[in-house]
Structures are given as C-alpha cells and as structure tokens.
C-alpha cells in the first residue's frame, strides 16, 4: 500500500472530522462514524489519527477540559489542507471507477 494514498479507515476518519468541523478529538469521530452505519473501534481511530499525524495529514494539540467537563486534557486533531487534497483525489478516482457499473446503481 502506497503511503500517499488514503486507506478506507483514514477516509472514514477524515470525513467524520470534516463533518464535525475539522477540529475535534477521537470520541466524537467514533460516534460520528457509528451514526452513519460504520463500525469502528476507538483504538482504531486512535491509531489512524496518530498515523495521519505522522504523515502530516492532521495536526494535534492538547486542550484542557471545558468549564462543565470533568477529567483531564484531551488531544484535539485538525484536518490539514494536504488531507483535503488527498480526499478529493481519492473521491475523483473512486467516482470515476464507480461510474457505469450498472449492477451497483442504486434504484431511484
């Protein structure tokens, strides 16, 4: 697997992050993906985020809990431009591949 392509888990995580505003932490990502019918573990999201951080697709920083929240600091991740570009490229590739396959056409 080439390093500059996005894996399916990475796509899911990035899309969920963008839906959540592009700046979030792992728990909402897990919940977002599950709400859309995906099944993913926190551990997987955690590992995928770290990996994308190493590749410069996301950045992270630690933030203290909000005034009404309990617990300690959480690590927030931000989607970077490179990630958006890769997502667009992946979408293009996949869309063109999807086109014209009649058996996969959903009934209108």
């Amino acid at each position: 697997m080439s390093r500059d392509r996005l894996g399916s888990l990475e796509q899911q995580v990035l899309l969920a992050m963008l839906r959540l505003g592009g700046d979030t932490y792992a728990v909402p990502i897990v919940r977002e993906i599950r709400e859309h019918g995906g099944d993913i573990s926190h551990a997987s999201v955690y590992v995928v985020l770290r990996r994308m951080q190493n590749r410069g697709l996301v950045t992270s920083d630690m933030r203290p809990p909000g005034p009404n929240e309990r617990g300690r600091e959480r690590r927030f991740f931000q989607v970077q431009a490179a990630a958006v570009a890769q997502l667009q490229e992946t979408k293009r590739t996949l869309s063109s591949l999807w086109q014209g396959i009649e058996v996969l056409e959903e009934p209108r």
Partner: protein, 892 residues
C-alpha cells in the same frame, strides 16, 4: 450538554494501559474511553457501557501490536478464528522442529505440576482438612494441668468427677466424656477384639456426628442412664464382621459377653477417638480415678480465650467442692482440631515449604526456557516483520507457542500427579491420625488448576514479555543481531540469575531431603536392643467384666504364656502392657537412692509393666541379677529391673546396683514405695524419646490390654502360632497375630511417607534442575556457535573452548548452590531441629530425631548438582564442536 465519565474507577485497565502505553498516552486514552462509556451508558445502559469500555480497552492494550505494523488497513476487530488456527498450526510445526526444547519444557512443566499437586494435596489434607464433625470450630478438649510439679498425671485424677462438676458449672457448654475400652465382639467362627469407648450421655450430640445408619442413642436410652446395652459400631467393623448388613440396627450383639442393642453404624472413616470401633453408652462412677477424655462444644461465638476464662473460674469452684482431689489441678482447653492434627503439623509445614520450593523451581525454569525460546527465534521474527507480518501476528505466534507448551505441560502434570498420588496412597500408609481419624487422600483438582495456572502463566509471560518489549520498542530489527541472538545485557543477566537461582532452590530441596532421609535411616537402623526376628506378637485383652478390678489377670497371663511355651514351635513367651517402639509414652520421674558420691539422683525413664518371662521372650539379656519371679508377683513384692543405660549413668559398676533401692515417684514424695533393684537388663530402645527404662512386675498395674510376645523357632510362621492358640484359650481372638519385625516396620510408616514425599520432591527438583540447566546452557551455546566456529577455525584448542563454556555455567550453578545451601543451614535447624514437646501422641519421630543438615549431605548434594550442571553444559558444547566450523560460519 458536556459529556461525563463512566466508569469512574478503572484501576486494572488503567494499570494495563499504563504498562503498555506509558502514563501519558494511557491518560489520554482512558479519558476518551470513559467518555465513550458515558455516552454508551446514556444510550444503552450501564452494563453495555462497561462491556464497551472493557472491549475498547483491551483493543487498545493489544492495539499497539495489532495495528502498529505496516498495513494500515487490516480492518477493524481482532483476527478471526481462522488466523488463530493457522497460527496454532504454525506454532505446532515450530514446536516439532525444536523437539528437544519442547520436550524439556513440557517435561519440566509436567514434573513440576505433578509433584506439586500430589504433595500439596496430601499436605493440604493433613493441615487444612476439615474434621468430620458438625461445626468443628466449636469443639474443644478438656485438659487437667497439675499445678504442683512432680505429681503423677491424669490417671490419678477422678476425671469423671471433673466432667459432671463442669456440666453443672458451665451450663452453656455441652460436655461429654469417653473412656478407653476394649470389646470382644462375638459372632462368626472366632471372636474379634476391637478398641472402643464407653461414652457419656449426649456424646454424639456434643461431638456432632450423624450416624451412617440408625439413629445414635435415643433419648429414652439416654434417659435410662445406665442403659449400657446400647452400642454404635464403626463402619469398617460393620463391613468386616457383619457383612454390611443394613438390618443390623436394633439387633442384639454380644460385646464382651454382654448383649448390646446396636442402635447405629458410624460414618465411614470415623474412628474417633483412639481408633474406636465400638461406642457404648455408660454411666461413669464419679470417684473412680480412670482417665476420661472430655469433649466440649461451646455456644456459637465463644472462643478459646473465653472458654479458658470460664474454666479458670470453674477451676477454683471445683477445687472448693472437692479439695481432696482437685486442689492442685487446673482446667485448660485446647481446640479439638489442634489436638487431632497438631502432631503432624511440623512435618506438614516442612513438606509445604518443600512443595513451594519445587513450584518456584518449576516456574523459574519454565520462564527461563520460554525466554530463550523467544530469543532464539529473534531472527525468524525479524525476517517475518521485514516481510510484512503485522506485529499483532508475531505477538500472537509467540503467545500461542507459550500457551501450547503450558497446556501440554498441564496435561502431563495431571498424569504425573495421578501416578504419584496412587503410589503414595499404595504405600499402605494413608496417614492415620494418632487419635483415630482416618483421613483419605484425594486428588485436589483445584490444586491441579492452581499449579497449572501458575506455571502456565510463567511460561506465557516469559515468552510474550520479551517479544512485547522488543516489538514495542521498535527493536524487532535488533533481534536480527547474529551474535548473541536476541540476548541483550538485561536478558543475559536474567538468564544467569535463573541458572543460579534454580541451582539454589535445587540445593535446598536436595539437602533437606537427604537430611530427612538420613534421619529416617538412622531411626530405622537404631540399635533396638531386642530381637525382631522370630518374635510374634499376640494381642490379649482381659476385660474388666471377666477380671473385676484386674484380679486374676496376671495369673491368667502367666498360665497362658506357659501353655504357649508347650508348643514345639515356641521357645519362650512373655507379656508386656506396651510393646517397644509403639506410639505413646509411659514415663515416670525416678529417683535413685544414695548413689554417685552419696547424692540421690533423679532421672526420667519409661516404665514397662511386664510378665516374668517377657525379657527372655523378646531377647533382652540380663547383665546382672535376674527378672521377676511369679512368687514376687504373688506377694506383690516391690521389685524392679532397670536398663543398662540407666544403670551406667548411676554407677560405674552396674552389678553393684542390684540390691539397691529406687522409687518411681518424685523425690519429694515420701509416701511412694521404694523398690528393690533385682536386675540390670541390657539396654533396649523401648521408646523414641526416653531411652532409659524400668521394668516393673505386671501384677503391680494389671492392664487389660496386653501384648504377648512369643519367641518362636526359626521358620515358624504367624499361621502356625495362630493354629496353636485356640488350644490355649478358646475364648481368645487369634485374628491379630503379627510378627514383631513387621510391626517395627509399620511403626515408622508416617516417617517413611514423609521421607518418600521429600524424596519425590528432591528427585523432581533434581530432574527439573538438570533439564532446565541443560535447556538454558544449550541455548547459550547454540547462540555462540558462530563465535565457537570462528575460534575453532582460528585453531583454538577445543579443550580450552569446552572449559571456557562449561566453567561459566558451572560457576553460576555453584554460586547459586552456595546461597541455597547457606539458607538451608541457617533456616532448617531453628525450624525443625528442636525436639517436639512430649505429648501422648507424638508419632512423628523424625522431629524428635532433630533435623539438621550435615556436611556430608551438603557436599554430596553439591557434587550432584555440579555434576548435573557440567553434564548439561558439556553436551551442547560437544554437539556444537562436533559440527564443522566452516559450515557453521556459512549458516549466516
């Protein structure tokens, strides 16, 4: 709404995550997992939330390995069953490829698990067995303590009076008493003689026994008081004599010639007290001075301290009621459990310590073997990682191998345990407590489980931890180093420590077992001073019913002895109330009159009441003077025969003692009769503790329970004598003729069992040490094959190479051994060296022999362990040297 945290406290998961991910990262993960848990609880309930939390946490724990690898998209969730099966097959193949290592590991595991389980089950039974009585913790025994020293003990206190007095004074405590008795059971061809007890009313309720058959003594029988016609019989007797006839209840059986109504059968194995097989209800004379065992059942919640306090008060009250008998007497209580199990506890603890040692040894060994196994596979793991195997996959492989080894070891261990247990049980020496509780040895499967779990955990942890460390720290590539394999500095030290410590543990096991074996052998070879061969023993019982007050007993016995001597097969016959070297002590303080520079000297000696021809019959020669005569018995003459050892300490010329005077009371008591010494007998070992003996005429204290010792012609069997006996006394049961030599052997059976157990542990330990050392050293040598090959290629002398490798292993083992030996020398004597306080039932003479490790045992063990280590090191070295150095070099 801002999210909360659930579950609030997660110490175990927290620890696990911190251990794997480090504190900082674990903190980040935990807070998020708890947040997820909070959402889940809000939406699907607390149980689902906890499940989710645990599942996610475990994924995180494994995630480092499972998803840290090369392929980012190996999907979510763990590996499927198929992957596990594939890896299991692979692991099996790998185990087959290194058969030696696999076999050694499984053997070590199996031996360790087996020996530990077998011995622990036995020790567990001795130490922690529950007594077969209802709520046994509420049971105590009553002891009288004489507050004025030097007074003769129990037999002179009217204990029945104490019992009935205490019943009145302590209404909350149930008291019941039992008195030793012997019963001739009629029915069948020949009568049989059994031990039994006369018991007070409420005895069964107090002790808390439910009969196997029948109902115990009914209220009406109890109310009738002297309804002495009711009897319970033991399960064994019921099977032996009455063919397990269930209709026996409410039938009448003759006991000592008197009809008794059988009201029930006791549960199997229960022969409390004193090995009883018959329990007869009796009313006791309150003034009679016989020995009465007393059992107390206290109300729920009353402890020993409270009971003792109550007894202390009662002591004074009873003393006021009966000043003539109870002035110098104090009541004390002891828990029934201590009373029954006490005597063996020392040995049981020793065995338990030895078992723990063996378990430790097995764990250390297995851990060492598993570690080298993983390290030995370093290259393979590194290659697999390079070829794209995920870390999870590699970790799984290692884990499965460890688990497979542990499981096979567990199975083998189970088999070994069953075998060992059978052989221990088949020694025919299922330990019987001195007071008649037959405890059955059963396999304790919880112990099997525990042992397997412990050693298995050692195996799995030892194989996965090094792999985990290497994989987590990204050092998978470092496993590729050829020289030294995966053995880094820490691991090297760890392995050295394992080698040394297993030698140390092995040393402790070996030295202790050799010491115990030596003590046992010294007991066995003790110069007894009497003849064991061609001596047969017949138990004769002369019940009170036939000989009221003991009158006529000695005449009957003397006549019986003379009649037995008429048999052509018999040389001589004589009787004693207590055979040499059988359980129980009969001691008296002794004072010699005006001896040794005119000073009266007192000494303690065992006392034997014997017939006129006993010394002759058992083969104890007279050194000076003579034995008693029938005339002296008739006249109740105050005469005594003393043993040579006693005589020698009192005078340089024992013969001069004949005609002197001696008393069996204490020095201060002027009312004790003085006895004339008529003879000095050859020194004989009558008892383990007290080697000095005085022999008194049987007529002095005519016991009901007597052993007739018969000196037979060489070659005469027990059957021949048994065939002759009915001519002497047709009433006398003859089913109990035994040879004295056999009896002496059975006498030491508990000691033999203990010795054998320690022996099993030591042999097991030695084999484990041998295998483990071999496994570790051969791994190390294998890792150095390249090194050795280069040296060989450069022309290094092979002898020097061998010395180089072997000396290192042997040195480590020697150091470990020294530490272990030192520990043994320091710890064993204070723990087991002292002699046990004298009680009525000291029946483990090993303890009295005073265990202390001796230099011979230690150096012998050292030699054995060093030899083992040398062999274990030598074989792999020689194997490595035998291969062509060039081909070894080419391998890389």
């Amino acid at each position: 709404m801002s999210p909360g945290q659930y579950p609030a406290r997660t110490p175990v998961i927290g620890w696990l995550l911190r251990w794997i991910h480090g504190a900082e990262e674990a903190g980040e993960i935990l807070i998020e997992l708890r947040e997820l848990g909070w959402y889940e609880r809000r939406e699907r309930g607390a149980l689902r939330a906890r499940l989710l939390f645990w599942r996610e946490s475990l994924r995180h724990a494994a995630g480092r390995q499972l998803r840290g690898g090369m392929d980012p998209d190996d999907g979510d969730g763990g590996p499927g069953l198929g992957a596990w099966l594939t890896d299991t097959r692979h692991a099996l193949r790998k185990l087959r490829h290194s058969p030696l290592h696999s076999v050694i590991t499984v053997a070590v595991l199996g031996l360790g698990i087996g020996a530990v389980t077998a011995v622990f089950s036995l020790v567990n039974m001795l130490l922690f067995a529950t007594l077969p009585f209802a709520q046994p913790d509420r049971l105590f025994t009553l002891e009288d303590v004489l507050t004025r020293p030097g007074q003769p003990a129990n037999p002179y206190t009217p204990q029945a009076r104490s019992l009935y007095a205490l019943r009145d004074l302590l209404p909350e405590v149930d008291l019941a008493g039992h008195r030793f008795g012997t019963f001739r059971v009629h029915g069948g061809d020949v009568p049989t003689q059994v031990i039994g007890v006369h018991v007070t009313d409420r005895w069964f309720e107090t002790v808390g026994v439910r009969p196997f058959l029948g109902r115990g003594f009914s209220q009406e029988q109890q109310a009738a008081g002297a309804g002495a016609s009711a009897a319970m019989i033991g399960h064994d007797l019921w099977q032996r004599r009455f063919g397990a006839d269930t209709s026996i209840v409410d039938t009448t059986v003759l006991l000592n010639g008197q009809p008794h109504l059988i009201s029930g059968v006791m549960p199997p194995g229960l022969r409390f007290p004193w090995g009883s097989e018959v329990w007869v209800q009796s009313e006791f004379d309150r003034t009679a001075t016989f020995s009465l065992g007393t059992v107390m059942r206290v109300p729920e919640g009353t402890g020993l301290t409270e009971l003792r306090a109550q007894l202390a008060v009662a002591t004074d009250q009873v003393a006021q009621m009966y000043p003539e008998t109870h002035t110098h007497l104090r009541f004390n209580a002891k828990s029934l459990r201590d009373y029954l199990v006490d005597n063996r506890a020392g040995v049981a603890w020793m065995l338990l310590a030895a078992v723990a040692m063996l378990l430790l040894l097995a764990c250390a060994n297995v851990a060492g073997l598993a570690t080298v196994r993983v390290l030995g596979q370093g290259k393979e793991l590194a290659v697999r990682a390079a070829l794209g195997s995920g870390r999870g996959r590699l970790f799984r492989l290692v884990f499965i191998e460890g688990a497979l080894l542990a499981a096979s070891g567990g199975l083998l261990g189970l088999a070994v345990a069953v075998l060992l247990q059978r052989s221990l049980a088949s020694l025919g020496s299922a330990p019987q407590s001195g007071v008649g509780l037959v405890l059955s040895i059963g396999m304790d499967y919880r112990v099997v489980g525990f042992t397997t779990l412990t050693t298995g955990l050692a195996a799995v942890l030892a194989s996965t931890l090094p792999a985990l460390r290497a994989l987590n720290s990204g050092r998978a590539g470092s496993l590729l180093r050829t020289r030294g394999g995966g053995e880094d500095r820490t691991t090297g030290r760890l392995l050295s420590a394992t080698l040394a410590s297993q030698a140390g543990i092995g040393a402790v096991l070996l030295i202790v077992s050799v010491t115990v074996a030596q003590a046992y052998m010294s007991l066995e070879s003790t110069e007894r001073g009497y003849e064991g061969t061609d001596r047969q023993v017949l138990r004769v019982v002369l019940p009170d019913e036939d000989f009221p007050g003991g009158d006529g007993r000695w005449q009957h016995l003397e006549q019986m002895a003379r009649q037995i001597e008429e048999s052509p097969d018999v040389v001589a016959a004589g009787y004693t109330h207590h055979l040499p070297m059988t359980p129980g002590t009969w001691t008296r303080p002794l004072t010699f009159e005006a001896l040794r520079d005119g000073v009266a000297v007192s000494s303690r000696a065992s006392v034997r009441w014997v017939g006129t021809s006993y010394l002759d019959a058992i083969g104890i020669d007279m050194l000076a003077g003579r034995s008693f005569t029938a005339e002296e018995m008739e006249a109740a003459a105050p005469v005594v025969v003393i043993s040579a050892g006693l005589a020698a300490r009192m005078s340089d010329n024992p013969a001069t003692l004949v005609g002197g005077r001696v008393t069996t009371g204490s020095r201060d008591e002027d009312d004790r009769p003085w006895l004339e010494v008529v003879g000095v007998a050859e020194q004989a070992q009558e008892e383990w503790i007290h080697t000095d003996t005085v022999y008194l005429p049987y007529s002095d204290v005519p016991h009901a329970w007597v052993e007739m010792v018969v000196h037979v012609q060489p070659g005469t069997g027990v059957r021949q004598l048994a065939a002759w006996l009915p001519r002497v006394d047709p009433e006398q049961p003859v089913d109990d003729v035994r040879s004295l030599a056999t009896m002496a052997a059975t006498e030491l059976q508990a000691e033999r069992l203990a010795t054998q157990i320690v022996g099993v542990l030591a042999v097991g330990g030695l084999i484990i040490t041998l295998l483990g050392t071999y496994g570790l050293v051969s791994f190390r040598v294998g890792q150095r094959r390249r090194d050795l090959g280069i040296r060989m290629a450069l022309g290094c002398d092979s002898r020097r190479l061998v010395w180089h490798v072997v000396s290192r292993g042997v040195a480590l083992v020697a150091v470990g051994f020294m530490v272990g030996a030192l520990l043994t020398w320091v710890l064993v004597p204070p723990l087991f060296g002292g002699s046990v306080a004298e009680t009525d039932y000291v029946d483990l003479h090993l303890l009295n022999a005073g265990l202390s490790p001796d230099p011979g045992a230690t150096s012998g063990s050292l030699g054995l362990v060093l030899l083992t280590a040398s062999l274990a090191s030598l074989i792999p070295v020689l194997r490595a040297l035998a291969s062509n150095p060039l081909s070894v070099l080419r391998e890389d």
